[in-house]
Amino acid sequence: MRAAILFISTLFIAAFIATLAAFGQAPKRDLTGIWAPVNAIDGIAPNGARNMPADGKPEHELPYTAAGLAALKKNRSSNGPNEVAAADENDPAHVCDPQGFPREVLFELRATHFIQTPLQTMMLFTYNKVWRNIWTDGRGLPKDPDPHWFGYSVGKWTDDKTFVVQTNGTDARTWVDNAGRPHSEDLKMEEVYHRLDQNTMELTMTLDDPTYYTKPWVALNKMKLKLLPPTTEIPEMMCSPSEIAEYNRKHASRGAKQ
C-alpha cells in the first residue's frame, strides 16, 4: 500500500515537472544546470566584450580616463583591429596566468555549470576548469578587499527570475577581455542573470571602474544563454605553458619572423 502511494505520488510529481517543462515555465530562483551562449561566438568573443567589441567603430569606443588610456596602450593583443602577431603580444592569459574575472565570462564563456547550495551559487567554467563562488547568504561586498584573480562576489534574487551578482576585489593584472581592455583594482561589476523560461536566460554585465573609465559601461547586453542537457560532457580545455611553448616554437614564433 505504501509502495503504491509512493509510486503514484512520484508519477504525479513527474507529470507536474513534465507539464512545467512543456509550457516552458522556469523554476523559481533557480539557475541550476549547464548553460552556454546561444551563439557560441558571443561567449568566445575574440574581439573583446560582445557588446563593446574592439572593432574600431566609434560607438564601441570605451570612455577611458587618461589613466585608462595609458593602461590600454600597455596591453598588446593578438586579436582586434590593433592585433599584433602572436609572438609579439603580451596577453597574460597566453602565458597561462589565470584569466580571472571578468575575463572568464567576457572571453571563452563556454558551457558553464551553475550549482546552488544553501549559501552560495557556484559557476564551474569550461575554460581552465575553474570554479567561482558567489555568496548568497545575504552578506555584502568586502570594504577593502585584497585583490584576487577572481575577486569577491555576492548575489541575490531581486525577483523569482532575476539573480543579481556584485563583484569587487579583482586583480588589476588581468585583462577585462580578449582585446586587452584594462581595469584597476577599483573595478566593480554587476551581472544580471534573468531567466526567461525553462531553457533560456539573458546575461547583462556592467563594469564600473572610475579610475580607468569616466562612466560605467555595458559589456554584455542581454546575451542569451541556453540550457544544455544535464549529461553534457564539458570538454577539458586547460591552459598549459609547456603546450604553449611547443606551439610557439613550432608555429607562432615562425609566423612573426620578418
Binding site: 575574440p46 582586434g80 602572436a86 597566453h94 570538454p235 577539458e236 611547443e246 606551439y247 612573426a256
Partner: protein, 136 residues
C-alpha cells in the same frame, strides 16, 4: 611565398572584403600573420598530429618537382572546437596522405592554418572560409 616549393598554389586575391568570418574565428590567436586572401593547396604526407591546446598542429612533408621535401606545420583551433567539427585525436597518423587547403604565412615560412583537409577519403572543414570560394 618562397619560390621553389613546388606546391600547387591557387592564388585568388580577394580585394573587396576580409574573409575572416567572425563566426568562424574561434582561435585564441588572431590572423595577423596570414595572407588571408590567398588559398594554398598542397598534397602532403603526415609526420605528426598534435591534438593539444592552444591550437592543434598538423605537420607534413610536401615534395616539390625536384623531389625536395618541405616540412610544413599548420594549425587549426583547440581540441574542443575541433571535436565539435568532427575532428579527433586519431584522425591522422604518420604516413597518411593529405590534401590540404591552407592560408599561409605572409613571410613565406612553411606554416599555415588549415581551411580544409581530405584524409582517407573524408573531407573535414578547418578554420575560416576558403579564399575565393563563395561561403556555403
Amino acid at each position: 611565398m618562397k619560390k621553389g616549393f613546388g606546391i600547387w598554389v591557387f592564388s585568388t586575391w580577394m580585394m573587396t572584403f576580409s574573409l575572416v568570418i567572425p563566426g568562424e574565428l574561434l582561435a585564441h590567436h588572431g590572423s595577423a600573420i596570414y595572407d588571408n586572401g590567398k588559398a594554398v593547396v598542397v598534397k602532403g604526407v603526415v609526420t605528426e598530429w598534435t591534438w593539444s591546446n592552444p591550437h592543434c598542429l598538423l605537420e607534413f612533408d610536401v615534395k616539390d618537382a625536384k623531389g625536395n621535401s618541405v616540412h610544413w606545420v599548420a594549425e587549426v583551433s583547440n581540441p574542443p572546437d575541433m571535436t565539435a567539427r568532427g575532428w579527433t585525436r586519431k584522425m591522422f597518423k604518420p604516413g597518411d596522405e593529405v590534401d590540404l587547403t591552407l592560408v599561409a604565412a605572409k613571410n613565406g615560412e612553411p606554416i599555415g592554418r588549415i581551411v580544409r583537409v581530405v584524409v582517407n577519403g573524408k573531407t573535414y572543414a578547418g578554420m575560416g572560409a576558403v579564399p575565393g570560394e563563395a561561403k556555403q
